[in-house]
């Protein structure tokens, strides 16, 4: 996993609630056996007419040149539905390093963190402030300080991040390394309980 410390970037607004993982990456693209290349099918059915890459839907935000950046800003309950980690892989592969929303589905949140994509939970009000910005405005996210700042206005909010997950993110550690280091206590547990 890549370490993640700071992001300063323009953003892509997606003011839609309950964005489920079937929209982030439709099931028919889950047939790969590796983690790579999912970015080109990110939001596939919202992005193209009739599944045709030569027919981008002009009003979908990923097809609007003016919006770009490493931060996706979405309406509440982002990532609900299927547990497919492919959703996090697709966001990462497309180039997003953080998703900002007022509410995330649990499994998605874990999957994102396990891949170095930061879910940033902000208040409804702060979310609306971001949606009101212009496309060229930038947002700064500081993982160590757990803050998100709208650079133009200086408005700042802090966000929650589990201290353990924070260490992992800052250093690019992953949970598997940690669990393997606990093998002895796991074996001990098995002897006592199982």
């Amino acid at each position: 996993m890549q370490a993640l410390q700071q992001i300063k970037s323009s953003f892509v607004p997606l003011p839609i609630e309950n964005v489920d993982t079937d929209q982030i990456i439709p099931a028919r693209f889950l047939k790969a056996t590796t983690r790579d290349g999912f970015g080109k099918n990110l939001f596939r059915d919202w992005r193209y007419e009739q599944d045709d890459e030569t027919k981008p839907k002009p009003d979908f935000v990923l097809n609007q040149r003016i919006f770009s950046g490493e931060i996706l800003v979405a309406g509440k309950n982002f990532g609900c539905g299927s547990s497919r980690e492919h959703a996090a892989w697709a966001l990462l592969d497309y180039g997003f390093k953080a998703v900002v929303s007022s509410f995330f589905a649990d499994i998605f949140k874990n999957n994102a963190l396990n891949n170095g994509v930061l879910p940033v939970i902000v208040s409804d009000d702060f979310l609306q402030q971001i949606f009101a910005l212009s496309a060229t405005d930038t947002i700064s996210i500081d993982v160590a300080a757990q803050t998100i700042t709208i650079d133009a206005t200086g408005a700042q909010a802090s966000f929650e991040l589990n201290p353990y997950k924070k260490t992992c993110l800052l250093n690019g550690y992953d949970d598997i390394d940690f669990l393997i280091s606990r093998k002895t206590s796991i074996e001990q547990f098995e002897l006592e309980k199982v």
Partner: protein, 469 residues
């Protein structure tokens, strides 16, 4: 101190709690399927690790498999590759596989319980959000991502933060024509698609106690659709009778020992939950969804809410977008609306009891000529039983197409898809945009309501058909 059922099982599986961090949670049983496991196998191979406890993982192929001519090679090359990869990975790493053609093959959440692998007090995970189904047996069962599948491969543990607990009490007798699917659709409509996010739910009360294991599984299955980490029901005599004698169930003295442990699995009388909801079963009607998340549901004879009546801007927009996709009008009724497809299957409603319920209603009747009806047993064993009980005759006489076990039209991944723009009454669990195929329009309902629509060709209040009987 008084403990909830959830606390009892959780505490018994914590290997270690990381200060200010998650817990190392030991996993008793791990189910895998072809879609979310290949990257995890690759991951441990890259690290040069063996599977830590291969005997505690059980595999099947369900999402990608065709449901016709399963004896022939899979036509879709990518699907075939994924299924072949699963076979190769299981062989290489010593994992028991109930793959295509095996008499135990089927949807992962159908086969676990029917084989008796799922037992009270266990922790169970699978790279699939509907793992919550197994909670019906009094287990902590939840869906995980592929990185976490890799964690279980490597250590038989996952890192989890303890969720909050919620109890949903349902009391009273269910009205005529109302079944367990209606209960859960009712709850989700009431508390919304995110209403239980952050919680692990226990379903309790006299209504729940009266339900069969299969009906309980339907309810726990859809816990994830209101955002819950999982759902569970305390085991009782109904649970023990269901498990007894199954292939993997404990036998002899071992059974007695386990049974004594299982009987301790309930929430203590004064256990405190972080949230509690009470529901009167008498209020529940046959349900149907009209939108693109399972929370957008109503009583079958109701009207879609008026967009104008919604004050929250986000919700208003959400509903408007959903109705555009669904081709439905705000304020409209659904009764009498023609549907082109009926899908009876999925890990929510593809067990023998669901199919018996359907058979009872359609016996001696025929499907309407304008609908295509697909009935897909959840497993090879269910299919076998359908045959043994002669239900297949009832279905073919009614003009239903009976297919072979798999996830089928629950998700647009295999060959079974609903064409763009057409309506499907489905017993599955998700009505997301494109879930049953790009552009497909899904109306979630119970097997009874689905069967009623199969007969009439339109959205129908099943209570009318029952009263006619």
């Amino acid at each position: 101190m008084a403990q909830t059922l959830f606390d009892k099982i959780w505490d018994a599986h914590v290997v270690e709690k990381i200060p200010n961090g998650p817990s190392v949670l030991y996993i008793d049983k791990h189910f895998i399927h072809e879609v979310t496991s290949p990257q995890a196998f690759k991951g441990i191979e890259k690290r040069g690790l063996p599977l830590f406890r291969p005997k505690q993982t059980i595999a099947t192929a369900d999402h990608n498999v065709p449901t016709l001519n399963q004896h022939l090679p899979i036509k879709d090359q990518l699907s075939k590759m994924q299924v072949d990869q699963l076979i190769e990975n299981c062989e290489k790493h010593g994992v028991e596989l109930y793959g295509l053609g095996h008499p135990y093959q089927g949807i992962v959440h159908v086969i676990g319980p029917e084989l008796g692998i799922t037992q009270p007090g266990m922790t169970i995970v699978c790279g699939d959000s509907h793992t919550s189904t197994h909670g019906a047996f009094g287990t902590i069962a939840f869906g995980i991502g592929t990185s976490e599948v890799e964690m279980v491969f490597a250590s038989q543990c996952v890192l989890q933060t303890k969720p909050k607990t919620m109890r949903i009490n349902i009391e009273g007798n269910l009205p005529n024509g109302v079944v367990s699917k209606d209960i859960i659709l009712y709850i989700i409509a009431k508390i919304s698609a995110s209403g239980a996010t952050g919680y692990f739910v226990e379903y309790a009360g006299s209504t729940i106690r009266s339900l069969s294991m299969e009906a309980r599984m339907t309810i726990c299955n859809m816990s994830i659709e209101m955002g819950a980490r999982g759902g569970m029901i305390a085991p009782d005599e109904i649970t023990f009778n269901y498990i007894k004698g199954r292939i993997y169930a404990p036998k002899g003295a071992d059974w007695d020992k386990q049974l004594a442990n299982w009987k301790k699995l309930y929430s203590d009388q004064d256990a405190i939950f972080d949230a509690e909801i009470n529901i009167n079963a008498a209020e529940i009607a046959p349900m149907i969804t009209y939108g693109t998340n399972p929370g957008l549901g109503m009583a079958i004879d109701g009207n879609i809410p008026l967009t104008e009546s919604i004050t929250n801007e986000g919700e208003k927009k959400n509903l408007a977008q959903a109705l555009t996709y669904m081709g439905l009008n705000s304020g409209a009724a659904l009764l009498g609306m023609p549907v082109q497809h009926v899908f009876i299957g999925s890990c929510t409603n593809s067990r023998i009891e669901d199919l018996r319920l359907v058979a009872e209603l359609v016996k001696g009747r025929k499907k309407h000529e304008s609908v295509k009806v697909m009935i897909v047993p959840g497993s090879q064993q269910v299919a076998k039983q359908v045959h043994a009980e002669g239900l297949d005759r009832i279905f073919s006489e009614a003009g239903f197409q009976i297919r072979q076990a798999g996830c089928s039209a629950c998700l647009g991944m295999n060959e079974d898809k609903i064409p763009a723009g057409e309506y499907c009454i489905s017993t599955s669990n998700r009505n997301f945009e494109g879930r049953q195929g790009a552009g497909a329009r899904t109306l979630l309902a119970s097997p009874l309501t689905a069967a009623a629509a199969a007969i009439t060709g339109v959205v129908t209040d099943v209570r009318e058909l029952i009263n006619h009987n």
